[in-house]
Amino acid sequence: MIRLINIELFKIVKKPRTYIGFLAIFLIVGALQLAMYFEGEELISIAIQNLENDFRLEGKIINANLLTYILLNSIIIHIPILICLVTGDAIAGEAATGTLRLILQRPFKRSEIYIAKAITGFLYTISLMVFLAGMTYGLGLLLFGTGDLIVLRRGVTVIASDDVTWRFFYAFCSGTLSMIVVASLSMMISSFVNNAIGPIVGTIAILIGLNIIFTLGAPIFKDILPYIFTSHITKWQYFFDFDIDKLVLQQSVLVQFVYILIFNLVGIWNFNRKDILT
């Protein structure tokens, strides 16, 4: 298995599209942080003008922590697209180019090949998230320095700067887990089709569709919401509550692990029975 993973990693490292994700993050983070540097005060004052009516606000609002928090929201849509570019290509892309035929003639079970590709996809996902974390916090620190984190979610929560690091660690872990679910979904779709575009479009369509349905808040969906994986993509925000609801987060982790398992099992099952016609 290690051999197969090394081979997949080699292929990913050699593919130019692998670096699109890192470049995109670099540009998104850079652009947003520069925008905040020049226009941030004005933008923030719009958000907090109600607070300024009742209080005098003392301290730096715009800092590395706030920007990292804001940019972590990019895992809702932007990061999944970048992940799918690579994981969606894992099987469908090779089927389209004919190289799938080449590697399936080797003495390895199809499930082993699938698992190696999946693990490589997960490693890519993790590296993308680590880069996001490093880039946002590093550049944020350089431009704005550190400070307390003000979270405008369900009211206002102010978290001291020395109380923030561990929260971000767990938040990024949670976000990474959500992105691994996305990677698993795109790989599963990749096993069903023979073109690389299908998994990318399919995964994003599912994400957007589910997000829209469940954000609308129709009563009919209320009970099933906790079991839909897209509702867990923003669960990382719970790590920035004053009193962290551990039960909700534990359930979230469990649900997401179940989805990762299901998506990968379905993908392996389909890949095993699939006739390779390309």
Partner: protein, 211 residues
Amino acid sequence: MIKWLFILLFSFSIGLFSAQSSDAKKRMLNMVEKLERVPPYSCDVNINIDVKFIRIKERVGKMIYRSPEDIDYKIKGFAFLPKKEMGTISTSLFKDDFIAIDMGKENENQIIKVIPMDINSEIVTGQFWIDSADLVQKMILITKEKGSYTAEMNYNGTLYDLPSKIRMSFDVKNQKMPALLTGDLEAYTDETDEDEVSKGTITIMYSNHQF
């Protein structure tokens, strides 16, 4: 006879009332004078907030007092502080002419109601609870546009009769941010009453005064 008795009684009452008002006014003016005698100083502060939708731990820092209208804070991290206008408003009450009415006593504190003569004044009325040592234990200010402020003071013998603790209460409008701004896309939340107004409290403890 009874008529003259009544007129006498009425005149006596008005005289008494006037004497009491002028006493109350004198007392208020003495307090303002006392406040104006306070030189610039700095002290350590501990700030706690109790507002329904704000979650923040105690903040520590320094306060630099130059005048009632000029107070600066140097706080480690981010803090919610009383609006500067609170100090300005409380002193502006006494800038122009005013009526002070003795409202009696409550728990050994004299209650004095202050009404500004200027019809355009931001403050509609203020009420002060003053103890026998001429220390303001509590005050309520009602403004035209900014709601009401209540401040309760505690003292521990600091120079210039400065309070060791002030607990300020005021009306606060509940904050509801657009989801696009907060990234909070979860539906089915328990939040209700978008424009609910609630009472907010800032408690500041002062110590280690340096003049």
